[in-house]
Amino acid sequence: MKPTRVTLEHLGLGAVGAVLLGFLALPLIALFVTLSLAEFHAGLTNPLVTPALELSLVTTTATVAIVTLFGTPLAWKLANAQGRTARVIEVFFQLPVVVPPSVAGVALLLAFGRRGLFSGWLYPNETTVSFTTVAVVMAEVFVSAPFYLQPAVSAFRRLDPGVILVARSLGALPSRVFFSIAVPLAAPGLIAGAAMAWARALGEFGATLMFAGNLEGRTQTLPLAIYTALELDLRAAQSLSVVLVAVAFTLLSATRYFLRLFVTKNDIQ
C-alpha cells in the first residue's frame, strides 16, 4: 500500500518534534535509571530532605499566593491599557527572566539588604529580612512573577470584549466585572500561568542562595539542599533531584487534570 502524502507529512512533523522531545527527555530519564533503588532510598532518608522539602512547599505556596494576589489585577490593567506606558511596563516585568538568578540575588541585596537602597527606611530597628524565610519568598516572587504575568495578560486579552461591555452597560462596577466575569472566564489561563510560576519558584536556586543564604530549616530549600549534597556525594544529590522532579511532575499533572475538567465543564454549559 502506498502511503499517502498526508501520512508522510504527519510522520515528518512527528519525527522533527521527536528530536526535541528526545533531547529533553533523555537527561531526565538518565537521572532516574542510573540510580539504584537502594541509592534512592538512601537519598530519601538523607537528613537534608524533609526540612528542605517542607520549606520548599511552604515558600512556593506563599510565592504563588502573593504572585496571583498582586499579579492578577496588574495583568488585568495591562491587558486593558492602550498607552505606550503599559507596553513598556509589560517589557519591564519580563526582565527578571533574563537576569541570571545570582545577579537577581545581588540586586535584591542592593535594594532590600542591610546596606541596601531602602535599608534606613525599611529597617529602623536593625532587624532585616536577609537570612530569613521571608527573604526566600521574596527571591522566589522576583524570579517567578513574570512566568505568571505573561500568560495572565494573554488570557485577559483573549476574553470577548463584548461580554465585558455588556456587563458594564448593565451597570456592573469595575471590581464586579473583574471578580465575577474576567477572572472566572480567564481562569484556565490564570491557573496555567500560576503553575508555571510555581514550577519556576520550586527550582529557584541562585537568587535564594545570594539573598537568603543557606541554613537548614530556615532558608535551605530543596535546590539548595541538592547543591549542598552535590559537594559531598553526587548520588545523594541525584536522589534529591529525583524527589524534586517527582514532586513537580505530580503537582503539574494534577493541575493539568484539574484544568481539563474545568474546561470541559465550561464548554458543556
Binding site: 541585596l109 539588604g113 542591610r114 546596606r115 532585616t128 536577609s130 537570612f131 542562595l209 545570594m210 537568603a212 543564604g213 543557606n214 541554613l215 537548614e216 532558608t219 547543591y227 549542598t228 549534597a229 559537594e231 559531598l232 553526587l234
Partner: protein, 276 residues
C-alpha cells in the same frame, strides 16, 4: 522511493568514515604519547587549578611562556570538586592543582594523576564587616557576634572552620562550638559567597582563606586565627597520567617552587610549604 536507498547508502558511508577517522586518530594519539622521549616537541600545557589559584597562575603565565617560547598555556579554574569530576570523566589535562588532599588522593587512587607535590599552603582567617570591626576582634568574639556565616561542612573551608572551633575548646570553653553554631545565619556553598555576605555587611563575621580575604581588604577587616588552633590547607599539584605534555607540567611545578613562584604565591596571601 530511490531517496530511501540513497539515504541508507549515505548513512553507511558516514559510519565508515567516522569509524576510520576515530581509529586513525587513536593510533596517532598513541604514537605521539609514545614519542614523548624521542624529541617530539610539547607545545601546549593544560592546567586545571583550584579557583583560589587564578590570580597567581595568570600572573606567572608570562614568565612561563617567556622561558618556553611557542608554548600555549591554557587554564581551567573551578572548584576542586568540579575539576576532579572533569578529570574523572576524561578531560584532557596535563597538570592538576588542588586546594586540598581529599580530591587529590581520590584521583591518585583512580590512577588519573601521579607525583603530587605541595607547592603552597593557605590558612583560614576571620573576616569582619566594617560595622562590626570594633566588637568582633578575636575568635572568641564569634560566639557573641550577631550574624556569622560559614561554609557548609561539605566544602573544605566549612570543615576547617568546625575543626578550628573544636581545637579552640580547651581555651574558649567546651561549649564554644555550640555557642558559635547558635550565631550562624547561613552556610554558604563556597568561600567567595562567605566573603560576599561579610563584605556587603549582611553578616558580621565569617571564616575564609587568607588569599580570599586579601582580595576584599578595602571592605572587610582581617582577623588572624592563633596558630595553635588554626588548621592549614595544603595545595598539592600532580601530573596527569594521560598528559600530552608531562615535561611542561613538571616545568610549571618547578616554576611554582622557584623564587619567582614563591614571590607570587606569598604576595597573594599563600604561605610556603614546610621544608621537606
Amino acid at each position: 522511493m530511490g531517496w530511501v536507498k540513497v539515504f541508507g547508502c549515505a548513512r553507511w558511508v558516514v559510519l565508515c568514515y567516522v569509524a576510520v577517522s576515530v581509529s586513525v586518530g587513536c593510533a596517532r594519539a598513541r604514537n605521539s604519547s609514545r614519542g614523548g622521549g624521542d624529541g617530539r616537541r610539547e607545545n601546549t600545557l593544560t592546567v586545571f587549578a583550584a579557583a583560589s589559584l587564578r590570580g597567581v597562575f595568570t600572573a606567572l603565565k608570562p614568565t612561563f611562556t617567556h622561558a618556553h617560547p611557542g608554548v600555549t598555556v591554557t587554564f581551567n579554574f573551578a572548584g576542586t570538586q568540579t575539576l576532579r569530576a572533569q578529570v574523572e570523566h576524561g578531560a584532557a589535562v596535563d597538570l592538576f592543582a588542588s586546594a586540598d588532599w581529599r580530591h587529590m588522593r581520590a584521583l591518585m587512587a583512580g590512577g588519573k594523576v601521579a607525583e603530587p607535590i605541595v607547592f603552597a599552603r593557605n590558612e583560614p582567617v576571620m573576616v569582619v564587616s566594617r560595622e562590626a570591626a570594633s566588637t568582633v576582634r578575636s575568635l572568641a568574639d564569634l560566639a557573641t557576634a550577631q550574624r556569622v556565616v560559614l561554609g557548609v561542612p561539605e566544602v573544605p573551608i566549612g570543615a576547617y572552620s568546625l575543626e578550628i572551633f573544636a581545637r579552640a575548646r580547651s581555651t574558649l570553653g567546651e561549649d564554644f562550638s555550640a555557642r558559635v553554631e547558635a550565631r550562624v545565619v547561613s552556610r554558604e556553598l563556597n568561600v567567595r559567597q562567605v566573603l560576599a555576605k561579610v563584605s556587603l555587611g549582611e553578616a558580621q563575621a565569617g571564616i575564609v582563606y587568607r588569599t580570599d580575604a586579601l582580595t576584599a581588604r578595602d571592605r572587610v577587616t582581617v582577623v588572624p586565627i592563633a596558630p595553635e588552633v588554626n588548621v592549614v590547607a595544603e595545595y598539592p599539584a600532580a601530573v596527569s597520567r594521560s598528559a600530552r605534555s608531562p615535561g611542561l607540567a613538571r616545568a610549571w611545578v618547578a616554576l611554582l617552587l622557584s623564587p619567582t613562584g614563591r614571590q607570587a604565591l606569598t604576595t597573594a596571601g599563600f604561605s610556603l610549604p614546610r621544608a621537606p
